[in-house]
Amino acid sequence: MTTLTWRYRGGVAARAVAAIGGGYVLTAIASALIAIALPLSRADAVTIATLLSFVVYTCVILWVFATASALRAWIGVLAASALLGGILWLTGRLS
């Protein structure tokens, strides 16, 4: 039995939070943007954006675990959320 270092365990925990929590927030922001950007009727846009959200979430989760370090994963998720969140805020649709 190899014992895992606390450093490794911490990394896994940090990635798990980044993937599940951070990934959900990023996905929510991204799907909201997709819904606004789609040049379709409201009902169609909301449907397509919500359909795509699970694909986005899956990709984010996998990326968080595939990237080189937990730190990079967090920076990536936070930067993408901040960027897309900023655009979403500029659209003025946040109520």
């Binding site: 929510a28 799907s31 009902a43 449907t47 359909l51 699970f54 899956t58 996998l62 675990f65």
Partner: protein, 543 residues
């Protein structure tokens, strides 16, 4: 996780799968059974079997007229009537109604009242059948697979949704891990321990991969507006109801005019719909009957399209004139309905439905072999410890016990549910709840026993018990009803579901029996081979 992409994906695959695999087994088994929920419900109401025996000779229009005549006597003041007419998968006429809600009635009370407001007609005689026993039938298994039980449906749906998301991640990461996905599909190395489990996991996963991917994604889509509300928030604000009415355009509810007007003859309306579709409607909803604002809604039977939203025709109930045909949905809405439709497979004919069922079983086997594989792999790390007479770690013991409780214990619970249906007294109060409790008492007992002694003997005991209970169901049916295999196999087409149910549970029981026998032979072989190995094996069992 520092290694390559493949290694990190293998890690994600292992842990996202292991975390939820026992819940997924419940969801997969319940969902697979739900493909036949009507047939299961029918089997669980033996009082209806006799009426279904003779082939129906009345036309759909005649059966609708029969049902309406009976409803006029039973519930002339109801605010809606619902008719299910005889159809390929339904030999009888089912009718139910809702009354205008009384003041101060809670939701539960209204639901309980609705459960009593129904009757079944024999299409041969037009008379009411014997009242069937109180059971939720296949509906319980269907609800169980996404609402769970003993908790609010919302909680259940979130828990199942999280498990489904883990499953989606596990599937995609599993595919990335695989460099030789096609080769592996043709590889099976039996009797090689871990490698055989790996091959079995690969075969069941890859064989039905499109199905697994489809069923997981479409499962999330069925409740997608709840799981991911942000697009709704930005486009509709807090007005979620507006979104629902736009995305799921329903016939507008018309308020009663409070002016009596006799209901027009239903037969011509039904025949008009039948002419337009080339087949008779399977479901008719009549709102505000005997009112000037009565509406008659005809639903086309499933089977012609993937979408789960079937076209409807709406008639004015007082004049019998056609008012509107629902407008075809936009591409995006049609796509969503098709994705939803794929999950529930209402379109599937007999053969395709059977294929979906088998794929569901393959999914169950995939989850089960994956869970077993983790235990087998992890145990190898303890090989030296075990050789010295030590014990395996807490994690391995826990997973072993959970595996027994879910893989061998759940079939016991399903079987006990069906046994309870036949053995509980028909007049028992809250009988349908008692059936559900029987399911969970059996499952709970199996899970607790497995935690106390997670040994190979426990595997064999529970597998054998599940095999006997499942394979014994046809016998139980013989002893408790008049519609056993000897009758149903030679009876009319209406009894085919009963015969098929008996045969399928018999086969599933045989499958479990084979697994128990195989485990026993393996233990004996090891005992004969090497005394040293025996010592190890017994320690393994004791561990």
């Amino acid at each position: 996780m520092k290694e390559g992409l493949r290694q990190s994906m293998a890690w994600v695959h292992t842990w996202s799968g292991l975390l939820v695999c026992w819940l997924l087994l419940l969801v997969f088994m319940g969902g697979t059974a739900s493909y036949y929920k009507h047939e299961i419900t029918f089997w669980m109401k033996p009082e209806l079997h006799k009426a279904a025996d003779a082939p129906s000779r009345v036309t759909p229009a005649e059966s609708a007229t029969l049902a309406v005549r009976e409803l006029q006597q039973q519930a002339p003041k109801a605010n809606a009537w619902f008719l299910d007419l005889p159809h390929e998968r339904n030999p009888l006429i089912y009718a139910s109604w809702t009354n205008p809600p009384k003041k101060g009635m809670s939701r539960e009370e209204r639901r309980a009242a609705f459960r009593t407001q129904n009757f079944t007609l024999d299409p041969m005689t037009g008379l009411r059948t014997t009242a069937p026993r109180d059971t939720r039938g296949g509906e319980f298994l269907y609800r169980l697979h996404f609402d769970l039980y003993y908790m609010s449906a919302i909680w259940g749906r979130w828990i199942v949704g999280i498990a489904a998301m883990c499953m989606l991640v596990a599937i995609i990461s599993g595919v990335i891990t695989h460099k030789r996905i096609f080769k592996d599909f043709f590889t099976f190395r039996p009797k090689k321990g871990q490698r055989s489990w790996l091959d079995a996991h690969n075969a069941t996963a890859v064989l039905a991969l499109p199905f697994h991917l489809m069923i997981t994604y479409t499962g999330l889509v069925t409740l997608m507006f709840m799981y991911m509300p942000s697009p709704t928030k930005v486009l509709y604000g807090e007005k979620q109801n507006v979104m629902f009415s736009e995305v799921f355009p329903n016939a507008e509810r018309v308020k009663p005019a409070r002016q009596a007007a006799p209901l027009a003859d239903i037969a011509p309306m039904l025949q008009q719909a039948e002419r337009a579709w080339g087949q008779a409607p399977s479901r008719v909803v009549i709102t505000n009957p005997n009112d000037a604002n009565a509406r008659v809604e005809m639903h086309r039977p499933a089977g012609q399209q993937l979408s789960n939203i079937e076209p409807t025709m709406i008639f004015d109930g007082a004049s019998g004139a056609l008012l509107s045909q629902a407008t075809p949905p936009s591409t995006a809405l049609a796509a969503r309905a098709a994705i939803y439709g794929l999950h529930v497979a209402h379109f599937a004919d007999t053969l395709l439905r059977a294929l979906f069922f088998v794929c569901g079983l393959a999914g169950t086997a995939m989850v089960a072999t994956g869970a077993l594989l983790w235990g087998v792999k992890e145990r190898q790390k303890y090989a030296k410890v075990i050789a010295k007479g030590g014990k395996v770690g807490f994690g391995v013991r826990l997973v072993d016990a959970l595996n027994i409780g879910a893989i061998a214990g759940l079939p016991i619970a399903f079987a006990v549910y069906f046994w309870a249906n036949r053995l509980l007294p028909v007049e028992l109060a809250a009988r349908s709840n008692a059936e559900a409790n029987a399911f969970f008492i059996a499952w709970g007992a199996a899970a607790v026993l497995a935690q106390i002694r997670p040994t190979r003997a426990m595997w064999r005991f529970q597998l054998t018990l599940g095999a006997v209970l499942l394979a014994g169901i046809p016998l139980l049916n013989t002893l408790t009803t008049n519609t056993h295999l000897g009758v149903t196999l030679f009876g009319g087409p209406g009894l085919r579901p009963v015969a098929a149910f008996d045969i399928v549970v018999l086969l599933l029981g045989a499958l479990l029996g084979w697994a128990a026998w195989w485990l026993g032979r393996k233990a004996k072989k090891q005992a004969a081979k090497q005394p040293a190995e025996v010592a190890q094996a017994t320690k393994l069992e004791a561990a």
